[in-house]
Symmetry: C3
Subunit: 100 residues, 3 copies
């Protein structure tokens, strides 16, 4: 079974950003996602004030180029004012045409 390396992008954000985040990843080229609820605690944007509550966790598997686009968009648009975390990991998949 031939495996292909792609990027798993994980976004953790306040629940009120759900629609905007899903739109952003689709616009960048993501072809699917999974979404779950998490609770958490972290630092809020540049204010570093504490927050806690219901967040969403969005995961999507994409090409490195799409991953970069998602990260740049989120960092530039949301990091200053929202408690958003985004990170990428290398994943191996079969049937890479599902994701590209």
């Amino acid at each position: 079974m031939q495996m292909v390396q792609l990027k798993l992008v994980t976004i953790i954000a306040e629940a009120l950003l759900e629609e905007r985040m899903l739109e952003a990843i689709q616009r960048a080229g993501a072809r699917g996602h999974s979404l779950s609820r998490v609770s958490g605690q972290g630092t809020r944007g540049i204010h570093a004030s504490d927050w806690e509550g219901d967040n969403i966790k969005i995961e999507t598997i994409v090409s490195p180029e799409v991953a970069n686009q998602i990260i740049e968009h989120i960092a530039q648009t949301y990091f200053a004012h929202y408690a958003v975390i985004v990170y990428t990991q290398v994943v191996e998949v079969v049937r890479s045409e599902k994701y590209l």
Copy 2:
């Protein structure tokens, strides 16, 4: 603390496949798993028709050989007719005898 590299296998599938997926990973040699509910959107098997709804996410840490067996079984048995995603990542664990 000595760390050992193993494989984290993640399966995202329609909830109706829960039992069959758990049986498949156990038969391949997985010694444990965690399961959560996710919602999501993706492309369905070879039909690429859209679907959305409650899915399960199964995660298990296994040897590379067991990871390959799980992936081959799922790809051959389910990819044609079900909306199943499976991917692997490298993870570092302590106490690798828990997983092997």
Copy 3:
């Protein structure tokens, strides 16, 4: 966008350990976390007796040094008597000052 490699530490434990686990990661230096519920099956510490039920999954992004501290603490304090799994993965983040 410049990416920095950090460690994602994932802890899966019985729900009764939630507070102690969160305290442990904060004491080690974690600045945030996300928490979700998972169900699962595995082997319990040195007894290897089966268990099943509601677990928590805690994820935190930290430096390699903090990751090591978390893992050592959990392995030494909990592995003998509790069904705890801990593993690390490499992740790429922007704005690494959020995590350090």
